[in-house]
Symmetry: C2
Subunit: 353 residues, 2 copies
DNA sequence: ATGAAAGCGCTAACAT
DNA sequence: ATGTTAGCGCTTTCAT
């Protein structure tokens, strides 16, 4: 690989001049500049960023860790972050932690080791301690999974409001028996969605029963879990708190051969392109991916440029994407509901056919 | 950020000893080693990889460029590559070219600039010239889109055989009117799939008509294009040569309100998890993602370790994933087919109810 | 407008 | 078993 010295020699100038001709540090006469560029072309010279960053103590690079690059929610977020970063002259080093806290830690250290100027992290767990430590020395922005307390900048959505809104929508369609599918209660994100669900139910005068909140975990057999819950509680609607869970819910509904959406409605969380495979088209609570990415970059760059010192918190609202997977509850269902034993809200003012 | 000097000072040893204690270049007495590690912990020292790579002239890093990280086919490939690389002690720098040849070029230079030891590229176009030039100095392995001629290592699937196999399967189900959906003929990958389709048809004594090969491009309105083709040619089956096109095909079929798969069958290319949203479950020609990733890494490391000098070519076979989206062609269809005017194979021995 | 030289943090060759 | 030092490729003073 040719170095700056080779270019200098070929162009008949000093290495300082080459550096300045290329990076524009100071004035270089047009003829010399041309000679340098010609030498660069002839040699196929590409500056060594490692050396440059080492010298500058700045890499113009930010790290990005996401839990699973295979999940369209995260990969869309990645896309918006990369675009925003590129527009501001930064490159991003992208890592996937495979939802593995240990790997995530290793990746974070690897990024530090590569001298990133800052990093954006969607952690596998809320507010990992190691990230706080890193955050004391290197700017860190937490994204999406922003539960827990620490002094880090964070960008996420208002999960409580979003889930409440989604649940209210289901209620407005006459649903009273609403199953909530969640991944795990370990993430504050998810807990807030449960709270939103609960708040909406209670505001509607319907009791909240935590048994109707079904943790599905990550196992391969989660569809079975959902099927059992459906059989046990006979919901008229399912609210899937995660895009993966929409998938699982669909499988369960099909396995049980329930008319969909006539007999059972489904509302998802997170929008994703490939969901159009589903018929009826999936209605979802949509997160503002584009804006989340942009705000994360913005916060990080503010830090890098020393504009701000106190931690910032950005909470974005979600909106409802109403499509076809939620149907008004059937009258027959409502009647049944009143008689039902294990209906948490059966006694309320819900059913009046 | 603490440096190796800080650690040396705190531990009361020389920087060489710190280096050796950490990287294990030569023997260090247990006590000294402990002192060094203690100092490392106390300072929160993380070695500077930039400096290390600069000095070593080796980064233990490989670059990976994929056309679109959002596409599950590519992101799954990424996953398998990262795993294989990690297992061999390499880190990967992942880039998405957004199907943009110019951006791809920039990214490749950026990787060179970061002194990657080699790179794996799924190019946006076949055998880009710039990659050949890079390949003369830095090991490059072409993946998936391996058309064109140059001296680079390549790993891909046997597209001709795969498409032929898929088409034969459709034929075996009685289909004679098979529409082939492709993205663009610019990729050899796709051209080979067309050839495979053609070969299968001709082997079955059915004429090949290039009008039945529908280029869908990347536009937003590709579903309309497919709808029109369906209305014009009235196929009994669609073979989507790309996972994205399976999506488009499904939309078109629905918009046309055709009984699926009874009236029209669909065979996809590339398997992907989220396809289970589709009912009936999508049958596909499945590419061996795992193995493709592993072989790519293997080829690259062989180069890096100088085991091999001539270019290698790995062609992997695909297998059929038979599920539900392909139905035997209905008898009524076969009759209709014989009368049809624009049926490319109508005159052949195809229909004999 | 240009050149010479120091030094970013690290490893390895040469010391002892 | 450990220390000293040159140098990886670059930018940036300090010269001229």
């Amino acid at each position: 690989m040719p170095t700056i010295r080779d270019v200098a020699r070929l162009a008949g100038v000093s290495i300082a001049t080459v550096s300045n001709a290329l990076s524009g540090g100071r004035h270089v006469s047009p003829q010399v500049r041309e000679a340098v560029l010609a030498a660069v072309r002839e040699l196929g010279y590409v500056p060594n960023r490692l050396a440059r960053s080492l010298r500058n103590r700045r890499s113009q690079t930010i790290g990005l860790i996401v839990p699973d690059i295979t999940n369209p929610f995260f990969s869309s977020l990645v896309k918006s972050i990369e675009q925003a970063a590129r527009a501001r002259g930064y490159q991003v080093l992208l890592c996937s932690s495979e939802e593995d806290a240990l790997l995530e830690y290793d990746l974070a250290l690897a990024l530090i080791s590569r001298q990133v100027d800052g990093m954006i992290v969607i952690p596998t767990q809320d507010a990992p301690r190691y990230l706080q430590r890193i955050g004391e020395k290197t700017p860190v922005v937490l994204l999406d999974r922003i539960g827990g307390e620490d002094g880090l900048d964070r960008v996420g959505v208002d999960n409580l409001q979003a889930a409440r809104r989604g649940t209210e929508y289901l209620l407005s369609q006459g649903h009273r028996r609403i199953l909530l599918l969640i991944s795990t209660l370990e993430l504050a994100n998810i807990r807030e969605r449960v709270e939103g669900y609960q708040a909406a139910l209670e505001a509607a005068g319907i009791g909240f029963d935590e048994r109707w909140v079904v943790p599905c975990g990550r196992g391969a057999d989660t569809a079975r879990v959902v099927e059992k819950a459906i059989q046990k509680y006979r919901p008229s609607a399912i609210f899937a708190a995660t895009n993966r869970l929409s998938l699982v819910a669909v499988q369960a509904i099909r396995n049980l051969n329930l008319p969909f959406p006539e007999r059972i409605s489904l509302l998802g969380f997170d929008d994703f392109e490939w969901s159009t495979l589903l018929q009826p088209y999936l209605s979802t609570v949509r997160q503002p991916l584009e804006e989340m990415g942009q705000r994360a970059i913005q916060l990080l760059l503010e830090r890098l440029e020393g504009v701000r010192s106190g931690p910032a918190r950005v909470l974005l609202p979600c909106e409802l994407a109403v499509r076809e997977s939620v149907a008004p509850v059937a009258l027959s269902m409502r009647r049944k509901e009143v008689r039902s034993k294990d209906n948490p809200g059966g006694s309320a003012k819900s059913a009046k056919p």
